[in-house]
């Protein structure tokens, strides 16, 4: 044993000396044999020759000695590695292309799969997330699903039998924190007492809400998010139990949420809010007053009882809904209930988009693998002679296999390493650029399983195709290979390479078609006229403390307080140099926030109970239309006289005019809401996109701020500037502080930014798909170039002969290009067929573009054909330029 260890040490650490001694020993053997042969009477030269013949090859003997040494495997590996690196360094072009292709394939795949798995596949971060469902009110007549009335929630919770718990969140209430320094707005939510226990959350500090705190008058308690605890209170350990001054009232902190709690939602759930800083009990009255059946602020969650399938829960809910329909026809006649598993609800809208990206990136990986295969095949063909020579010199097949494997592994390892680095860099970069409304985006981190998986696939490709040279030597005798001089590739291999190219071109074409359709959609999307001005508009949101609140009474003193604040602020803002005009609105266009009112039109039959004409309304101040650039088509916009003391007025948009008045002129007509007062229609204004550029505008009406009861406490101020919008921000802050230093201002953005943000998802998927398509085309072009170069180099002599017997350079050029064109044409034809099957699947992601868009389906093949011909042209020109005589002598 000790001898073995000593031998191992000697072999490993004094390898050179051991080698030298081996060399000398065997030389000595040969000389001794030669000397003996001379003694037998042979001439010195003959004696030496006979001795050599007797030895049977110096290197083979040495090799066999090395193989028996202790540590031979490690030694061989090191030598193979060294050889592999040297072999790759001799072909830096090949090595670079192979490694870069692998790295791109692995990196891109891991990155996208990471995003997809983060959003779609990873279980939600709650205890038994499969049992959590979201509940929605459904309009039976239209099928539209929406948020829930508090009184309905109260009845659902009391009447259902399928759920362990049911809880609601009102995502609306914000809190103004009056502490030291600037007032801060904290994003708030009111939740029923069961809310956190439904998700299985345990507080990081303090406790959950108690049932008795979930009652009106007892709810002056708050739970803080971990982030707010850190940022607003520096993580003070003694905060629990302390009182906070919020909205000019005292609240006691009872608990701190854990840092990993995240209310998974989709953008539309909470009016684009994704996080909440502060939570307070919902405190519904028991039972709630009846008006709470006509307002719909709540999102409702429920946890299914163990073993109850969702279908049974749905039947349970249908029964409750039927009861409510008969019990409260005025509000609930048209109302059903829909249960949707939380996971499906959250990612439902983005599933198609992400699946498309996944498919695209998978195709990129296939193309990359095909490219690796092709490159290694080219190289294999070039190494046929080398392999044959080495077999002839006595290398065993296993030895060659080991060395080729090492080469494949080196390629794969370097590719994987670079690919991992790529993914590590790309995932955070991508997460930063993910559309803000992509659900769960904040949870994303590099998925190591994905990295491992793609790396294995790529490594397997490298190894399988790396071993081709060995397979080639299986029936070819050494002599044959050497005589042919490495020419005369097997027909089968050439077919395989052709097939790989065809596949690559086809896959690239499918990707390009998809990307083309997406790009065209996106282009059409951003060219949609939003219906308002986007340049030189600054918007900012204010949060008015509750002392401005007007309750539900209209025309009270407090109501005037808001109007006075707004008028005062607008006066100051108009004085800021560079501000052309300014106005308020409760809800910005593209914001997606809706508030609807039922109305009756004067002179038309009164609707039966439970049937309404409803449209969304937007409270705006005087000068709003002029400021934001919504055209007034008939009548007038609002001016300063449309206040509490003057006649009630309303302006409607074009869609509403068309829907309710047809060709008649609505200006001068009157309508009223639940109250007795009639409002005169004073103007018709242009449609503005509110849900998004891709959603058609819906009927809307505008009311003067001063004439809206229950008005929004978080108005948005809109400024039209003559200068760069960002340059007036500090003056705006100063103006707000001048009117009331307790009013926080946030969500400051230019209208351009808002518009750009609203198309974030579309831009993201278009950009990523386009990047993949270009990558695919690039990689496929490299593949085609590689194959054509190789074919040209194989046929140099043939071209020489052709030219010698009278073919022109043009003939040769055409011959080579024709071959490239043939491969490309087959690929394009197959790709078009595949694209025809695939485009249907992405139809829902397209905007104003048919899946079979003729321009795209015609343009993409032309583009791809051009790239393919270029990739073929370079080697073709090389072939045509060759001097016939050189070509003939070449060998």
């Amino acid at each position: 044993m000790i001898g073995r260890i000593r031998a191992l040490c000697r072999n490993v650490f004094r390898g050179e000396r051991v080698e030298q001694e081996l060399d000398e020993e065997i030389r000595g053997y040969v000389e001794l044999t030669a000397a003996e042969n001379m003694r037998r009477g042979l001439a010195p030269g003959d004696a030496m020759l006979a001795a050599r013949r007797d030895l049977g090859g110096m290197d083979q003997v040495k090799e066999r000695v090395r193989d028996v040494r202790t540590g031979a495997a490690a030694d061989t590996l090191i030598r193979d590695l060294r050889y592999a690196l040297r072999a790759l360094a001799q072909h830096p072009g090949f090595a670079t292309v192979a490694v870069v292709t692998l790295a791109l394939g692995i990196g891109a795949n891991t990155t996208i799969f990471t995003v997809v798995s983060g959003v779609l596949l990873k279980p939600l971060p709650y205890r038994e997330p499969d049992r959590i469902v979201t509940l929605w009110e459904r309009q039976l007549s239209s099928g539209i699903v929406g948020t829930v009335a508090p009184a309905n929630f109260y009845d659902w919770r009391a009447g259902s039998r399928s759920f362990d718990k049911m809880a609601a969140i009102d995502p609306y209430p914000d809190f103004i924190l009056n502490g030291s320094g600037e007032p801060r707005r904290l994003a708030g939510a009111a939740v029923s007492a069961d809310f956190f226990s439904l998700f299985g959350v345990r507080m990081a500090a303090g406790r959950d809400f108690l049932p008795e705190e979930d009652r009106p008058g007892h709810n002056q308690v708050v739970i803080l998010s971990y982030a707010a605890w850190m940022s607003e209170f520096g993580g003070r350990p003694d905060l629990v139990g302390k009182a906070l001054r919020l909205n000019d009232a005292n609240y006691t902190v009872v608990g701190i949420l854990p840092g990993n709690f995240w209310l998974v939602s989709k953008a539309s759930d909470f009016q684009s809010r994704t996080r909440f800083d502060i939570w307070t009990p919902l405190a519904l009255a028991s039972p709630p007053p009846e008006w709470q059946r006509g307002t719909h602020p709540l999102c409702v969650y429920a946890r299914l009882k163990p073993g109850i399938p969702i279908a049974r829960a749905q039947a349970d809910l249908d029964r409750i809904a039927a009861n409510l329909q008969t019990q409260y026809p005025a509000d609930d006649k048209d109302a059903g209930i829909t249960a949707v598993p939380l996971g499906r609800h959250v990612v439902g809208d983005v599933r198609t988009a992400l699946a498309t990206l996944m498919a695209a990136v998978g195709m990129v990986l296939l193309i990359a693998c095909a490219n690796i295969g092709n490159l290694l095949l080219s190289r294999a063909a070039g190494r046929r002679k080398e392999m044959a020579l080495r077999v002839a010199l006595g290398a065993s097949r296993g030895r060659l296999a080991r060395q080729l494997l090492t080469e494949g592994m080196v390629l794969a390892a370097v590719g994987c390493l670079l690919g991992s680095l790529f993914a590590l860099a790309a995932v955070p970069a991508l997460t930063r650029h993910l559309p803000a409304d992509l659900p769960r985006a904040a949870e994303i981190a590099v998925d190591w399983r994905a990295l491992l998986f793609t790396s294995l696939i790529s490594a397997a490709t490298g190894i399988v195709f790396g071993l081709v040279p060995l397979w080639q030597t299986r029936r070819v005798s050494a002599g044959d290979a050497l005589r042919q001089g490495g020419r005369g590739i097997a027909a089968g291999q050439s077919r395989l390479r052709g097939a790989l190219i065809v596949g690559q071109v086809a896959a690239a074409l499918v990707l390009l078609v998809g990307a083309g359709l997406m790009a065209k959609s996106f282009w059409k999307l951003i060219r949609v006229s939003p219906g308002f001005r986007t340049g030189h508009i600054l918007t900012a949101r204010l949060s008015l403390p509750p002392r401005y609140a007007n309750g539900y009474a209209f025309g009270t003193g407090k109501h005037r307080l808001i109007s006075a604040f707004e008028r005062d602020l607008l006066d100051r803002v108009h004085g800021i140099p560079g501000v052309a005009s300014a106005a308020f609105t409760a809800y910005l266009p593209l914001g997606g926030t809706d508030n609807a009112w039922a109305f009756n039109i004067e002179g038309r039959p009164v609707k039966p109970p439970g049937v309404y004409d409803m449209t969304n309304y937007r409270p705006v101040s005087a000068g709003y239309f002029e400021t934001i650039g919504i055209p007034v088509l008939h009548g007038r916009g609002f001016d300063a006289s449309d206040d509490e003391d003057h006649a009630l007025v309303v302006a409607i948009n074009q869609s509403m005019a068309r829907m309710f008045w047809g060709r008649q002129n609505p200006v001068g007509g009157r309508l009223r809401f639940s109250g007795p007062e009639w409002r005169t229609i004073v103007g018709v204004v242009g449609d503005a996109h509110h849900k998004g550029l891709d959603a058609a505008p819906t009927p809307e009406m505008y009311l003067p701020y001063a004439q809206v009861p229950n008005v929004e406490l978080r108005p948005t101020i809109v400024l039209r500037t003559a200068v760069e919008p960002a340059s007036v921000v500090s003056a705006l802050r100063k103006a707000v502080a001048g009117v009331d230093p307790n009013v926080p201002i946030d969500e400051i953005a230019s209208m351009k930014e808002l518009v750009s943000g609203s198309v974030g998802q579309a831009r993201f998927r278009t950009a990523v798909l386009a990047a993949f398509a270009l990558l695919a085309v690039f990689v496929a072009a490299i593949g085609l170039y590689g194959v054509m170069s190789y074919l040209v180099s194989q046929r140099t002599q043939e071209f020489g002969i052709r030219m010698a017997v009278g073919a022109s350079r043009g003939d040769v050029l055409r011959l080579v290009l024709g071959q490239a064109a043939k491969l490309a044409a087959i690929g394009i034809a197959l790709g078009l067929a595949a694209a025809a099957l695939v485009v249907r699947l992405i139809a829902s992601l397209l905007f104003n573009v048919a899946p079979f868009d003729p321009a795209t389906l015609a343009g993409v093949p032309v583009l791809l054909a051009a790239v393919a011909l270029l990739a073929g042209y370079i080697p073709a020109r090389r072939a045509a330029r060759a001097d016939p005589m050189t070509a003939l002598r070449y060998e």
Partner: protein, 110 residues
């Protein structure tokens, strides 16, 4: 150039080398000649089999080598048996005798 009888020689070659070195230290060619001599020329051990076996046996601790001068005044590596090598020779010889006796009686049986 493959060895004509590698399987046969696997166990036999070791024994032959040990036997060849039983009396005195020899260099590679000396061992080869000695084996040819003591087997009446039946086994001619080629370098491709001899040297791997010598190195393997040296690493197993049966042989040690040292550099010396050959009969033609050339530097050569001489191998000799260690104590372990002698034990191995003893054990292998007994084993081989048992096998050859068994084989012989098996072949004589009718």
């Amino acid at each position: 150039m493959a060895d004509p009888q590698p399987e046969l020689l696997q166990g036999t070659l070791d024994l032959l080398i040990l036997k060849a070195l039983a009396l005195e230290a020899r260099h590679g060619m000396g061992i080869s000649r000695r084996i040819a001599q003591i087997t009446n020329g039946t086994f001619e051990v080629k370098a491709g089999s001899l040297f791997p076996a010598l190195h393997r046996m040296a690493e197993a601790g049966w042989l040690v080598s040292s550099w010396g001068e050959s009969e033609t005044n050339r530097r050569a590596r001489f191998y000799r048996l260690t104590r372990a090598g002698r034990k191995q020779l003893q054990a292998e010889s007994e084993r081989w005798e048992r096998i050859s006796f068994a084989m012989a009686s098996a072949l004589r049986a009718t």
